[in-house]
């Protein structure tokens, strides 16, 4: 079959991209888009999906390979170039200006004018409404972006691309931040776009969504393409095997938990976010020593606000939090840490480490006061250096020396430095928020083992993770968080399936009577 018969709109052939730090992100990757299809790009974190799309959108230039658009070989120099060639991208992190209206965001950079100097706002609003109507998007274009929910923001991003004449739309993990209803709505609209002749690249690692909406799928694994498949001809099991290259269920040999006394007590906790929206809703639970309590949930259901309150980063909460019977409302973060609480933060670059400081400084940023490492006036430099080397060795941090800046390390190694810091104080309570996100398999395995070791030693572990495998294999008790509450609490993790948990996470199911929340 020739290109014309199949109506190929875009080909990326033999794309090779090696980053300056030597990481091979794309190795001989080829992908082909038929006009009017929804094409899934499937792969784990770090499989090279984003890099491939950055090449297509002109953010990165490929080292080798060619791009053929509408039958003509082309180079895409910048995002502007991509936009002018009819390629639009909806980024995972929205590129919107909050204080501007929807219409203003849509026309930003390509403003219609009147009288030569002024923006023709009537025309802008009209054009924005027109395009929203055409694709059945129910949006008030005069509203400010900061006042609309996430799902609508995403629609604004799609409209922005359409307004600029995008034929090919790249959606980078569009459902990651959406509620199930919003996701359904998005799918209806994507189908509508498809019917209008638009071609969509749908980046995801959620197999059920791909089954639901995509025509074909290209699967990527560690920088290589594992082939393109008709979605209706391939099972989700096969997809996951191609994507991960191993059996997805990971299991840990673990002793049954021996829970001891309650170390962390949360009572009627409610937290608003900075915009005054209730994110944690009257939550009460206990965490005991010697157990791992896993919290599963779609991002944005109050996990961040809960953790910020438990660790002292947010003081504006209502209700009570007790760590070992100490009410922490008035405690400083240091005061909370002195109660032997370790915290692996969600975002390692913003709150996990100081990227411009060395490994040593980062390792000791929580214990520079310890008499073991500090005299009355001066730090015991030699002792600290010795201990740094020990920790680097113990936690398998790949680096030149302890003087190397943490920011120069790879994501996995940065995470190891943070984990080493938090674990080396031998905490009684560990709050691990996405401890293995974006970390390579080996490092992830290592971190999970350490968490289990701590639990066996009597430590209380609160594990928040978007990785269902992880919460399933590690947790002794498992909670599904939805809209600031635990929609479900499972004291026997083996008795609940992934599908069932998913229904609780998405708010489709809700336990009326809950067991295992409170032990005291």
């Amino acid at each position: 079959m020739t290109c014309l018969e199949k109506n190929i709109i875009l080909q990326m052939n033999h794309i090779m991209k090696i980053y300056s730090n030597g990481v091979v992100a794309n190795e001989d990757v080829s992908i082909e888009l038929e006009k009017g299809e929804i094409h899934a790009l499937l792969g784990e974190n770090g499989a090279g999906k984003s890099t491939l799309m950055k090449v297509l959108f002109g953010i990165e230039s490929p080292d080798e390979g060619q791009i053929v658009l509408n039958g003509q070989e082309t180079t895409i120099k910048s995002p502007q170039d991509a936009i002018s060639k009819g390629i639009g991208m909806v980024h995972q992190h929205f590129m919107l200006v909050p204080s501007l209206t929807v219409a203003e965001n849509i026309i930003l950079g390509v403003e219609p004018k009147k009288k030569g100097v002024f923006i023709d706002m009537d025309k802008a609003v009209f054009a924005a409404e027109e395009i929203a109507k055409k694709y059945n998007f129910d949006i008030d274009v005069k509203e400010k972006v900061e006042e609309i929910p996430v799902g609508i923001k995403q629609k604004v991003e799609i409209l922005k691309a359409l307004y600029r004449g995008a034929d090919i739309l790249i959606l980078d993990e569009p459902t990651a931040v959406l509620t199930p209803q919003e996701t359904d709505e998005l799918f209806v609209q994507l189908k509508k776009l498809k019917d209008n002749g638009h071609t969509i690249i749908f980046i995801s690692h959620k197999l059920d969504e791909i089954k639901k909406i995509c025509d074909r799928a290209t699967i990527m694994r560690s920088g290589k393409s594992m082939g393109t498949y008709e979605v209706k001809d391939i099972t989700t099991e096969d997809m996951s095997r191609l994507m991960v290259g191993r059996d997805v269920i990971l299991t840990f040999e673990k002793e049954p938990a021996k829970p001891s006394k309650v170390l962390l007590k949360v009572r009627n906790l409610s937290v608003n976010n900075g915009q005054g929206v209730l994110k944690v809703d009257d939550l009460s639970f206990d965490l005991r020593g010697g157990e791992i309590l896993g919290i599963a949930g779609v991002e944005g259901n109050g996990q961040t606000e809960l953790i910020d309150s438990l660790t002292g980063l947010n003081k504006s909460y209502r209700g009570k939090i007790y760590i070992k019977d100490t009410d922490i409302e008035k405690s400083s973060i240091k005061g909370i840490r002195d109660l032997k609480l370790g915290h692996i933060p969600e975002d390692r670059m913003t709150s996990g480490c100081a990227g411009n400081l060395g490994i040593l400084e980062n390792l000791f940023s929580n214990q520079y006061n310890d008499p073991e490492y500090s005299g009355k006036m001066l730090l015991k430099t030699k002792r600290i250096q010795e201990r740094s080397n020990e920790l680097i060795k113990e936690y398998l941090v790949k680096c030149k020396s302890f003087r190397q800046n943490v920011g120069m390390l790879s994501g996995g190694n940065i995470q190891k430095v943070i984990v080493a810091r938090e674990f080396s104080t031998s905490p009684d309570i560990i709050i691990a928020n996405q401890p293995t996100r974006g970390v390579d398999v080996g490092a992830a395995e290592f971190i999970r083992r350490r968490l289990l070791e701590f639990r066996d030693a009597g430590c209380a572990v609160l594990l928040i993770s978007a990785d269902l495998n992880e919460v399933f294999s590690l947790s002794d008790r498992l909670a599904a968080m939805y809209k600031g509450k635990f929609a479900g609490m499972f004291t026997d993790v083996s008795a609940v399936t992934e599908e069932e948990l998913g229904q609780y996470m998405l708010g489709l199911k809700h336990q009326e009577e809950q067991e295992g929340m409170i032990y005291e």
Partner: protein, 305 residues
């Protein structure tokens, strides 16, 4: 005392005292909206006050003097932008450097030009004229306030309106606001954030220079050492408290102008003038305190406490 506070002369004086702060506050607002704190306003005003005197004396008329001074202000804005945007200098450090150069440089220049190191009395400069608006000046009370102001004061009021239209009704204004709030978003739709920030800083410099020009060619009719006296910094506070919008900034400027006018008037009383001269700065401090406190309260309310 109270009588003089309610007199039209006092309100007239408020507008006068507000004028330089207003220009500088507008300058601060446009820079802030583009995402840069222009702390060099003080230095730009000081330079402009001196150059206003020199240029108007050289060209023999105030208007060309004003235009050339605005060029100087734009150049300093461009200079700051070059350091901050191209060389990646910290914006505060670059501004402090400009302000220090202005403090010493203006004295040195004045000495070179006039042979005097305290004031420019020996330079025959030209000030912007006072304008009496026919008919309006006949309105009792109000007419006395509004009419008879310096031309620069009317220009300042005009500048508020123009800046408001510019920021909220033109494509460039929209781009400035977009860049200041979310640079990545602006860049993603093809806006060059560097170009936009250059434009904003140059415009900021031009506006501040008009305030500086008024100091030595309207408010007074000569240049004296350090005559900007912190108005650039006060303007930063005014702009921030006004939410960095042209209208908001001008309203808060009016408050600070009133404090300045009050201080000026009270110099005729027996209270030690050192204390009285504190009034504008104390007002700024209290104003910022009140502003921050209300912000804190609002945050707490959002947190549901």
């Amino acid at each position: 005392m109270l009588e003089s506070l309610l007199s039209p002369e006092f309100f007239n004086a408020i507008l006068r005292a507000t004028t330089p702060i207003l220009f500088a506050a507008l300058a601060s607002s446009v820079a802030s909206k583009a995402g840069i704190t222009n702390m060099a306003l003080e230095g730009i005003m000081l330079f402009s006050a001196l150059f206003g005197v020199i240029f108007s004396a050289m060209t023999g008329n105030f208007f060309t003097g004003l235009l050339l001074t605005m060029v100087i202000g734009g150049l300093i804005g461009w200079f700051l932008a070059f350091f901050v945007l191209n060389l990646k200098t910290d914006e505060i450090l670059a501004a402090v450097a400009i302000n220090l150069i202005a403090t010493g440089g203006t004295v040195l220049l004045m000495l070179a030009v006039s042979g005097d190191r305290g004031s420019s009395t020996s330079i025959a400069s030209f000030s912007a004229p006072r304008i009496v608006i026919p008919l309006i000046d006949k309105i009792p009370f109000l007419g006395e306030i509004i009419s008879g102001q310096n031309l620069m004061t009317y220009l300042a009021i005009l500048a508020v309106i123009i800046m408001h239209l510019f920021m909220y009704k033109t494509p460039l204004g929209l781009k400035i606001r977009a860049v200041g709030e979310n640079k990545n978003a602006a860049e993603s739709v093809g806006i060059s954030s560097r170009k936009i920030q250059y434009i904003a800083l140059i415009l900021s410099g031009v506006l501040a220079s008009m305030g500086g020009f008024f100091m030595s060619g309207g408010y007074m009719n000569m240049f004296t050492k350090d005559m900007s006296a912190g108005r650039g910094y006060i303007a930063l506070a005014a702009s921030a408290m006004g939410g960095n919008t042209p209208i908001g900034a001008s309203l808060v400027s009016l408050l600070f102008g009133a404090a300045q006018a009050l201080a000026n008037m009270m110099q005729l009383t027996d209270i030690p003038h050192e204390l009285i001269q504190m009034i504008p700065y104390l007002t700024t401090l209290i104003g910022l305190g009140v502003y921050s406190y209300s912000n804190m309260k609002r945050r707490q309310k959002l947190a549901g406490k």
